[in-house]
Every structure is written in C-alpha cells, then in structure tokens.
Symmetry: D2
Subunit: 296 residues, 4 copies
C-alpha cells in the first residue's frame, strides 16, 4: 500500500545539458534523510519528456541504486504508444522500482475516449511486473481522467493508486468514494494537500516536497493527530511557495529554489529557460517568508 | 458576521409560469423550521435572471415578510449595469434584507478586467445601505473572481463575504489566507463543503440545503466537533445528490427533488425544461440512496 | 431576404449615462447616407443588456422613427426568459422593425442543451410577428449554436437568418451547406468578411461598419465583381482597426473611434469604462493607418 | 518556395504494429501519380509520436527513397527537447528532405511563453541544414502559435512557412498580412481551404488529400482560375468527408477510408483503436456521397 508524502525529483543537468550524476547523488542522499516516504523518478518535474530512452534507463537505475532502501521509489514510464510504455515499464521493473507512474497517452486528444484510455492503462497494467499508479495531469496532457474511469481502472489488481493533479477536489472525493481502501489516492499538488486529506486522501506526491519535505510530512502528521488548526496554518503558509514552484514558475523555479537551499537544482533542459533574475529575487522573498533557510 | 449554512431558495411558479406565493410560503415555513442559518432569495437557483424587476421586488418582499425573523435573509440584486444593480439594491435594502449577493457584471466578458470589476463592486458597495456579499459563479458568468481581486475588495467595509462556486479549493484557501477573520467565506456548492471547512471556510451557501438542510448543517457541526471521520462519511454521501441537483440536472432537478420531499418545487420557467421522466426516476433512486424520505 | 452589410449601432449616453437622443439622431442621419443596407438596434454594441425595458422600447422606437426608410432596421430583443423575449419582441414588432435578432438564453449554460435552445428559438419565432434572425455570440454568451442546430432552426419559416460571431469558418460553411439559399448567413465580425463571402455568406453584421461603413460595403462589392485581389487587400487593411474596436477594446474603443470620426460615440455605461488615454492614442494611430480621416 | 497541396501521409503497420514497408511503398507510388505537390512524412497523421527514433529514421529514409523525385518531401522532426529535435533534424536533412515540419515543444504548456517558443524554433532553424516549416496544431499540443510570434519567426531566413491547423481564419489572415510573400502559409485542414486561399494562403497540407488528392488540387486550380462558384461547391462537398477523417474519426477513420479506396491504410498503432464497425459503415456512406469510388 502506497501512502504518505512522495516527491517527484528533478533531473539535474550539467552546463552542456547532460545528466549530472553527482548532483542527483547529492539530492538523493539529502532527500533520503528527510521524513519523506519516497520519491518519483522521471515524473513531470524530472523533465522525463526531454530525455531519450537510454537517459531514462540510466537515471532510473542511478536513482534506484543510490536512494535509501528504506523508502519507496516510483518511476514514470509514460510514452505515447502502448508498446513503448510497456517496453520501458518492463525494463524499469527489472531494476527494482516499487511502482510505475503512468500518464494517459495524450497527443491525439480527440481520440482518447474513455474506452481507449481504459484499454491503454489495462494493457500497461497487464504487462507490468510491478504495480501501476495512474497519473492525472490535465494541465500538461490536456486530458482529464474522470472519476468514473479511475474507479473502473482501480478494479484491476495491478492498478494500485492515482496521483491526481487536476485540483478538482470534488473529483478527488468521488475517486475516494468509488475505490477500495487499498487504492492509494494522492494529492498531486501541495496547494490542496489538507483538503485532500480531509476527504480521505492517502497522502501527496508533491513537487513542493523537493524543497519543503519535512513541512509537507508535518502537515500530514498534524492532520493525523487531529491538530487541524495547526495543519491549516501550515497549509496556508505553503500555498505561496507551492504556487511559485509549480503553476507559477514551474521546473525552472523549482530548480532555482533548490539551489537556494543548497540542493542541486541547476538549469532545466532547453527549451525550458532558467528563471529570470527578477523572478529569482521574488522567489527568494517567497522562500524566506515561508521560513526556508537560504544558503545561496 | 455571516456564517453557517444558507440555502439559495427556488422561485416556485404556477402552471402559467407566474410566481406562486402559496408554494413559496410553504417552503419558507418549512425551511424556517430547519437548522439552516438563513436563505438567499433571487440567487441562481431562484431563477433571478428570468424575473422582471417588479417580480424580483415582489418575491423578495414576500420572502422577507414570511420567513422567520430568527434567521438571516440575503437577496441577490445582480444586474448587468451598475445603475440597475444599485437601484435594485436600494429597494431591497429598504425591505430589510440582511445583505445582498452580487455577481460580477459579465456579458462583456472581454472588458471585465480586474479594475473594471473592482470599480463595479465598490460602486455597488458604496451605494448599498446593507452589506454586500460577492458571488463568484464562473460556470454561469464565464468570469472568475481571482483571489487577489477578492482580497482587495474585502478591504471595503461594506463588502463582508463571498460565495465561491468556482470549486477551486486552492483559490478558496488563498481567499481565506488573504482576508480578515471577519470576512465570510462560503463554499458555494455542497460538493466541497468539508474541504472548504478544512481550510477555514465559514460555512456554505448550498443549493443542496433546499433538500438536505439538516444534513448540510450536521456536516458543519460534525466538523466543528472534531468528528472528522463522520463528517467525511456524510460528505461522501452527499456528493451524489448534490451533483444531481446542481451541475447534473440543475434547477429542474432541484425542483423535482423538492417535490419528492413534499416541498413545493414545481416547474422551472421557460426556456428551462422540467426534468424528463427517465431523469426523474434516476433522481428518485439517488435521493433514496442518500437517505431521503420520499413522499411523492 | 436579408443581405448586404449591416452595422449594430451603439447607444450614445449623456454624461449622467441617460440615453442621448440627439447623439443617436446624428449617427442615424449620417449612417443613413452611407452605402449600408441597414442597422441593428439593441445589439451587443448597443449595450442592450445595460438598458431597462423602457429604455429599450424608447431607443428602438427612436431609431425606427429617425432612420431612413430606405434601409432595414433589425432590433435585438434577447432576454433570458422566453416570456420576456416574446413580450419585448411583440412590442418591437408593433413599432415596425424589419426583423429581430435573438441570442440564446445563456445564464444557465449547463442546461442549454440543443433541445432546450431549439424550443426557445421556436417559441420566440412562433410568437414573433416579424422574422427572427439567430445571433450566435459565444464569446459573450458562453454558448455556441452548432451548425446542426442552426440548420434545424432554419427550417422554421419565421427564422430567416443568422449572425454568426463565432469566427469558426468551417461552422459557417456548414451552415451555408445545410440551409436553403433564402436563409441569410451573416459574418458577425469584419475580421473574416471576405472568407465568409468566399464560402457563400450573404453579407455581414459588423461593428466595424459603424466607423468604416463604406469600406465594408466596398469589400462586398469587390467580391461580387470578382476583384478578389482588391478585396483581399481591403480585408487585410481592415483587420487591425476591426480588432481594435471588437475583441481588442470593445465598445469603449468603438465609441472612441466614432468620436475621432465625428460620429457621436461618447462614454459607455458603467461598469464599462471609457478607453484609457494611452489606448486612445494607439487607436488613433490604427485608425489613421487604415486610412480614416480623423476630425477629433 | 513551398506552395500547392501536400498531404501528411499515414504510417501503415503490420498486424503486429511494426512498420509495413510494402504498404507504404504502394501508397507512395499511388500518391506520386496524383496532382499533389508533395507529402509530409512523420506528421500527426503519420503517428510520429508513437514511433521510436530508429523507426522515424527508417520511415523517413524509406519515403525519401521511394517517392517520386518530382514532388517535394517534408519530414516532421518534432521532439519535446531542443536537443532531440535538432539531432533528428540533422539526420533527416542528410537524407535529402526538402524541409522539416516542427511543432512547438508543448508538454510544459505553462512555461511555453512566446520568448521560450521563439528561442526553440530559432535554435532549431539555426541548426537545421534545410528549411523549417512551423506547425501550429493547438488541438493536439494545447498551444497556439500567435500571429505575432509567427511573424517574428518568419523573419528568420531558414523559417520558410507555416502549416496552421488552428482553424482561426482571422489569425491566418494576420499571418499573411504580417509575413513576406516568400513565406508559405498553408491551411492545415481541408475544411477551410477555400477561405484560406481567399485571404492569400499558398496552399494546404491536408489529411484529406490522402483520400481526395486530386479534388483538393482541383479546388486550388478552380480558385486560381477565378472559378469561385465551382470552388465553393467543391469546398462544400469536401467538408463532410474531411471532418470524418480529421476531427471526427481521426487517423483510425483516415486509414479506414484509405482502405475503402484501395490505398493501404490498415490499423493504427495502440492505444489508437481501429474504427468501430458502425463507424465504418457511416464513413462508407460519407465517402460515397462525396463521390469516392469505393473498391473495398
């Protein structure tokens, strides 16, 4: 059963935009010592779609080898075609990942009806040696996985959870209502972690947890301890930095924020641009205001 | 200070589509004996936009005279032009309403920038003898009042709250974060009452409370008593009937559901159509499943 | 049969925002001497939704009395409820209007399915003593009248045309394909007048024709004379000022542009704001560049 | 200078979903004998996003070797990262393609501001040994390339044209207005070929031309000969089959229609599903009604 707080880690690059092993090693070590329950490798924040297949294998392998065995590692294996997603999934499974995270195929949006998406996910789940977690990310894919589709998919024994980044709290509630307790429902963004927990979510898979890992875990703890007022105060405090490194500034801002904290963020791969100087300054203020100790 | 559970009441019509005083009297009496904190007259569920100005005055007057003085009455006074909204507001204020509920002017969507909307609401608030509650209803108006605009408007002493029907829980959280404790933030739909409360909302203004008034109030009580598990169970149970009478079937379904419970719903005004027979049957099942005692 | 170029006239106001008869008289006289085929009163550009019913009657009456009898006058009678649209339509018909222009009822967007809209328009058409022209304006109403719905409505003998402001040229082509030759299809915006004519439109109902009436008519003439290159050049020239007074600056810009040309535009009614000074300057340049002779 | 009618060819697969050389050879030979000016390989209709890099190279190479040298071949090289698009572009250029067709990078929609997209296309154009044609396809990418961005990009000497599939005829007109005559503007869909030509487009890159190649070319000829009435009749006739194989049924329908005509369409790659039986029947009627001679 997957639960708790996970973070989708970034992929650090060298100046020439090649994968930087050392920087990732640093981040893995440091995240490994936080209260996080696990990480997601090759997710949206990992710039998975900018990586070749060989890079994906190298990075997943590196993360699995270098991250503490005490926490879970989920790996994103989304490709557009069923055959490529299945092929990548099998290779990742052999490496020892705990689960895979899979987006809907989405380029041909008009054709991705529920029956097509259902078959896509089931085909992947049938072929995958390890559990599948659905990944709903309409802002990037242009496709929303409906609660009814998710509920239907949740009946498959190898589909064990969902990361929902839609921000639609009613939909999240419907998913919880319509799936078994063993199906893991994760808030996909820290902006609504507390309301998601209030309706029964099992945790969150949160970009913000790259920079505020313990604060995100603390929010979960406060909620479970029934300290709702404190949980709410923390939620309100996290809204602004969360927006800054997700919908606001995206990966470029997340990497810049990591740098401020001593993590190894660095530059995103092109065409993503590094954060502009004035945005860095604003981000620094937001981070400090939220209580972060900035070392750079 | 406005707080608790309000319901936007329907406007019952006779067969010829004229306003039906007797039916409204029945509903007002019965709602008056529930745990509700108040009602909204001439809201979206009141088919306000289908009513002439003289009908609006008649209906508001009738409701104010016939509803228990122990509960609050908010009246919707939204028109497209500032002068008409102000004119109607003054007449309503004289009748003794506790507050007015005001949508953004919205036909010229492209022109309704934040500065235009700001001036609109402030002009109304300045002219209104009674407090103003903002009404964010993007599904119907095509305009979303941003958290930053609401926070700015909340500084006006005569703007005392908001009914937010956007369903964007992060936006609701931002509004709560950026306004004083005295500013009332209401969930505008029962689908997310619990998550809204979790982040600090003061209550809800809920179409569903026309048919499940005490259940909506019970959810609020459970939350305040710290009985989160029970609150969640109730929230999950209310999702389905709530969808059926709001986004799903709209006013036609809400009125049909009221009829099933012995309230006086009746037909909507044209062009709205009464609920089709097969939809009535489905609605009946949903209502029964949610625990309603159907008398018709 | 309606064809040619019409313009939806503005409603001029005094400084106190009351209707200004003298200004409208001036505009009517001047537009009456252009090549225009007619005008639309109480359309979107006439700020119809900001006017009380008595104002609507007064303005329509005034326009019908003061505009040349050699050109046609269409009057907008859109209200949200069927009964109010029918009531206004009957009064307008008695005044001698040539046709009415009717938007879909649109506040309850979720309920406005094709069968509801079909009944709405047919009910109005049945009750209307004068021909009905459909008005598709999704940017303001949030509802698009589909080609199939329009084709079905076009079979009604009292529904004689459509002003389509969707900008969807394929939809416009489908409407032309699926309606009889006697059904008038008007481009609703000068930005695509030529392409609309190319696929068979009967003309245009164009805000731009308030300020470039003869140029709009000239484009139509060039097209009918087979002078496609000249027509294209004119179309390209009109795109910029057209954008400026429609999607760009809206009614405020249209009224400002009229003032520059000596027409009586004046201020819009609140909450619409007059064009800001810097925008007026930019508009002046656009107008001059498009060949307009500015007198103010 | 690119002009005339191109078709984005499909990628035929064997039953096991591997690329089928023989089927593509057949299609290439047959399309080579039509009036088409050229083809696009690895476009959206070529299921480019379902192909591995090695498959892309194999297919492009095969098409370049087997298609008549008398017509042009454009190859799609869109990847998400700049480095991958550049890498693929260089390999394709070496094979002798006439130009490349490039989508905006689009997964991180929120980050793809105009300055980011500008740099992306310029970086690709700088690195590409052969001309670049921009590809605007908002329905699939969720990103619209604005007229102003396109005009700015068109100033680069190696960016020579655009395929615009937005369907926004005003935007297409603005592009034509704001670019030099040497910049090729192609309608990206046969649904608006005639209106696009009317405002000055240089031709079309049309999925429909896979099944109606000569009809699409005939429409262009009729337009250039000034036979506007005949062109319009043809345009109206092509709307329905065009919708059926693009927005309606997509690639699955296009491949099915090709099969009906004796071309080698076959099955799409998963997760795309083959056209359902009842849809095939409807498609058959549409094809026949449009004058196609069905052999299967």
């Amino acid at each position: 059963m997957f639960k708790g707080i996970f973070t989708p880690i970034v992929t650090p690059f060298k100046e020439n935009e090649d994968f930087d092993h050392d920087k990732m090693k640093y981040n893995l070590d440091r995240l490994g010592s936080t209260r996080l329950d696990g990480i997601v490798v090759l997710g949206s924040n990992g710039e998975f779609c900018y990586l070749s297949e060989s890079e994906k294998l190298e990075i997943a392998s590196f993360a699995l080898e270098n991250f503490t065995k005490e926490k879970k590692v989920i790996v994103g294996t989304s490709c557009e075609s069923t055959r490529e997603t299945v092929s990548l999934t099998k290779k990742i499974a052999e490496m020892g990942a705990d689960a895979i995270l899979v987006l809907p195929s989405n380029y041909y949006k008009g054709a991705m009806k529920d029956d097509v998406l259902y078959k896509y996910f089931v085909d992947v789940a049938e072929a995958s040696p390890i559990p599948v977690i659905l990944y709903n990310m309409p802002a990037n894919t242009g496709i929303n996985l409906s609660a009814s589709l998710i509920a239907k998919l949740a009946k498959h024994e190898n589909i064990v959870g969902i990361k929902d980044t839609s921000g639609n709290i009613v939909q999240l509630t419907e998913i919880i209502r319509d799936t078994d307790d063993g199906f893991a429902v994760f808030a996909g963004n820290a902006g609504y972690l507390l309301p998601a927990l209030a309706v029964g979510a099992n945790g969150g898979t949160l970009a913000l947890a790259n920079i505020f890992p313990n604060e995100c875990c603390e929010l979960l703890s406060l909620f479970h301890e029934g300290k709702l007022t404190e949980a709410r105060e923390l939620q309100l405090k996290l809204i602004e930095p969360n927006f800054a490194v997700t919908s606001g500034g995206g990966i470029s801002a997340l990497k810049a924020a990591m740098d401020m904290l001593g993590y190894k963020g660095g530059l995103p791969r092109s065409p993503l641009k590094p954060l502009a100087d004035e945005s860095i300054k604003a981000l620094r203020n937001i981070m400090a205001k939220a209580g972060a100790v900035l070392v750079n």
